[in-house]
């Protein structure tokens, strides 16, 4: 597990859930409206994804705003797949993987941006807020999978480690991820 994930992905985010066969326990019962909450959370993420994307590439400066197609194309390798026509359980599992992937990546991006653009406070704030919402989505999905579907474990995958890359590559990977995020969250939101 990358160090950034350890440092910034708190409260077990991104950690693999116990497998279905394992004991699935939560601290308390999920609220009956957890699915509604998930939808609201996805809507919340979806409504802010584009603004976050714009805010990000704007904060990176040239050449990003003028070369979005080249620099910010949503070409993210190993991004978890999502099948919008799947069952709720399958969608929840895929959603879990996606949010876990995005959450870990946002953590890395936030860390990089605080170093690369320390004055972009609005961007920092928005990145943190988005990451907080993703934590909430993971909690709700986890609770739903565990309480309803008794899924105790979900295998997750994480993005590439950017710690050894140069600044431009970091910015580019971040921009590509946010572009992907804007693209995927819309689809996911629509599917729930």
């Amino acid at each position: 597990m990358p160090l950034l994930l350890v440092l910034h992905w708190k409260y077990g985010a991104g950690s693999p859930l116990p497998s279905v066969n394992a004991t699935c326990a939560t601290r308390h019962q999920c609220h009956s409206s957890v699915m509604s909450q998930i939808r609201n959370q996805l809507a919340q993420l979806n409504s802010s994804a584009n603004a976050l994307f714009i805010l990000y590439y704007t904060a990176q400066g040239d050449p990003f705003p003028s070369n979005l197609d080249k620099l910010c194309a949503p070409n993210v390798t190993d991004f978890p797949a999502f099948h919008a026509n799947g069952t709720e359980k399958a969608k929840l599992v895929e959603l879990y993987r996606i949010i876990a992937y995005l959450g870990a990546s946002l953590g890395n991006i936030t860390q990089d941006q605080k170093l690369l653009n320390p004055n972009a406070l609005s961007l920092h704030s928005k990145l943190s807020a988005t990451a907080d919402v993703m934590r909430g989505v993971l909690s709700n999905v986890h609770c739903r999978l565990c309480n309803k579907y008794h899924v105790a474990h979900v295998d997750v995958a994480y993005g590439p480690d950017t710690s050894g890359k140069d600044v431009f590559q970091k910015k580019k990977l971040g921009c590509q991820l946010l572009g992907k995020y804007k693209q995927v969250i819309g689809v996911v939101t629509q599917s729930f």
């Binding site: 601290r27 909450q37 909690s139």
Partner: protein, 918 residues
Amino acid sequence: MLSLQIWLVQALVVFLTTESMGELVDTCGVISPESPVIRSGSNFTAFCVLKEKCMSIYEVNASHIIWKANRVLIPEEQYTVINTTTSSVTFTNKSLSNVQLICNILAFGQIEMNVYGVKMRVGFPPEKPKNLSCIVNEGKKMMCQWDPGRETHLETNFTLKSEWATEKFPDCKAKPDTPTSCTVAFSPVYFVNVEVWVEAQNALGKVTSNHINFDPIDKVKPNPPHNLSVSNSEELSSILKLTWINPRIMNVIRLKYDIHYKTKDASAWSQIPSEDTATTRTSFTVQDLKPFTEYVFRIRCMKEDGKGFWSDWSEDASGITYEARPSKAPSFWYKITSHTQGSRSVQLIWKPLPPFEANGKILDYEVTLTRWKSRSQNYTVNDTDLTVNLTNDRYIATLAARNLVSKSDASILTIPAFDFQATHPVTDLKAYPKDNMLWVEWTPPSKAVRKYIVEWCVLSDTSPCIPDWQQESSTIRRTYLRGKLVESKCYLITVTPVYGDGPGSPESTKAYLKQAAPSKGPTVRTKKVGKNEAVLEWDQLPVDVQNGFIRNYTIFYKTSNGNETAVNVDPSHTEYTLSSLTSDTLYMVRMTAYTDEGGKDGPEFTFTTPKFAQGEIEAIVVPVCLAFLLTTLLGVLFCFNKRDLIKKHIWPNVPDPSKSHIAQWSPHTPPRHNFNSKDQIYSDGTFTDVSVVEIEANDKKSFPEDLKSLDLFKKEKISTEGHSSGIGGSSCMSSSRPSISSSDENESAQNTSSTVQYSTVVHSGYRHQVPSVQVFSRSESTQPLLDSEERPEDLQLVDNVESGDGILPRQQYFKQNCSQPKTSPDISHFERSNPVSSGNEEDCLRLKQQQISDRISQSCGSEQMKMFQEVSATDAFGSETEGQVERFETVGIEATVDEGMPKSYLPQTVRQGGYMPQ
């Protein structure tokens, strides 16, 4: 090696120090438990265990232990000696107070020593926190608060715990200064339920509140909408459109709104119906507003489903609706300011329309004046009055106000002809204050009224009545004065009905918006003060100081040390009579004027009632004086009538023989002295009683010796003739002459009037009393009568007189002077009251001895006058001095005239027992 030695030294020092400190802090025993925390109301037992070493040193055991709580000895009943080393003390039902418990021993049986002390803390375990609630202020962290329950009196920690279903959040420990709330450290995550509870813990226990589970989005208090703005519409003067920017939370939740509005000067807000603002929006149009009116708006929002909290109010925003046509015609009235032959100066006045009727900014007023069957005259006026000169005819005036949109309806006013007689006033006009307004109420007249004009002004003694006015419609029966009224002022209110043909008769009344006590009391004074009553008067208070309707006066009066008496007086009076007053008493009086709101004292006035009523003194004094005068007069008259009787009974004449004198009549003795001046005679004034006895010798036969004397008189007649001054002379000389003269003149006939001086007896009254009746008596002295002895004829003459009292007719020999001027002529008086006459005689003798050689030829009468003068100086009857002097004056003149006469018959006084040489 060296380092090893240094290390050993250091180790030794540390060891010794530790040992010594251990000795120093070593105690004789300990108390268990060391830090007791006791639940209030429970029992508690503490144990004090002594150390063996100490016990042997101080020769004590557990029975020598005594316990103290807060330095107060605990009763031994609470002690228990468990064994030789341990003693316990038990507290039952321990109350709420911290106690310092000390275990002591009595060393050597008597010296008290502290062994160990602990502090007992008493309190309660925490109660279960109640009413836990949380709020998420948008953009801030979640804050929860609770009710901690009763005071524990112990240090109690409150911890807010929160968790998701899948993970737990860090605890939020409440700060000691705010133990009832805590703000979590993490940002809220919406749409994830969180479970929250509070854990309270102190030394006596731990307790947890109920868990609450909620979605933070349902506890949100959004930020208020901002950038609220208001815009109007030219098409509709009754609407305003609000626009605003929603808080950011709108991206997450749907909102509903609460919109308030009011006119600018209003205090209460109106609310837009909630169903009209129940959905998320960024603008709203408010309808049914008044034209050209400024409105103020504010807005707030909350989650659409009503969960959570209303945001704070946005900042106020205001806007003005567009103008509309004036909704009402202006109030219109007129005054005739002057009138001359055939024309009138009329001032048309009107009131500006209030904003809610003007519906815009009034640009000007249009006035038309129409005389009967004449063309109208139009005026455009920016002000609110117009003065025109009219004839005495009837006019119709109209007035309309114009704003940006249009002009109002016209107010029509009939200005009647000059000779118009107003009638039909309103009736039952009343004015009264209510709700801090001055209301006017009336009964309309029977005639159809077009409108009413209500005028009012402040009545004052110092300033003129400047009227204000307002117009009321014909349906109004009651209204309030819409002017700036002040309290404590008297308002004269006039209501005039206005008919189609002109104004009716005005009707007036007075009223106060709010009465107060008079600012000055009446000054009372006395109009008239009597013995038992006083009439007080005062002036009516000026209206400026009345501050209300004077309901009554109260007069307070009292004496300087008496109780105060109060009298109420009707306010219409200006004087009052205080009766039943005490005479000759100082009264203090003051007067208070009362309105409905209180009274005010006037200055104190004092007056004193007189001792006597008017005319009372005169009524007493005059009769008394008259009675006194009458009594005096009667007394005088009585005394006068009974004077003899009174004299006889009160101070009868008692002759004093020892002071008797014998006056020697020595006609042959020439005068020895002359008076040098007449003044000497009168100087002393008084004249002693000298009488000359004239005996009328009617019967010469029976008095043959008298003839001898008569002869002797005759010898002297030539020299005395022509010097007679008639009977009544007051001197011995003058008194003798007429006797001589008359006797001489009547001698040829049966001259019974010829007199013979017989003798003079001078005596003084008894005990200085003046004898009322003096009897010319014969001296019974055994002393030789000198001349009489030498001339026995003289003595004989005297005897004859005595014996002839009953024979001789009454004759006045010498008019009695002194106090009895009206002495009866039949009684001869010879009064001599001065006993010092002897001294005068001595003076006379001394003078004679000195002057005898060179004044041998001078008359003795002069000398005797001088003697009389000296005697009279000590005469007690001073009141008669003047009369006597007058008589002396006569004598003096004659004495002067007779100064050259060597032969005069002068009476001489002779000291009793003495002899006066002739």
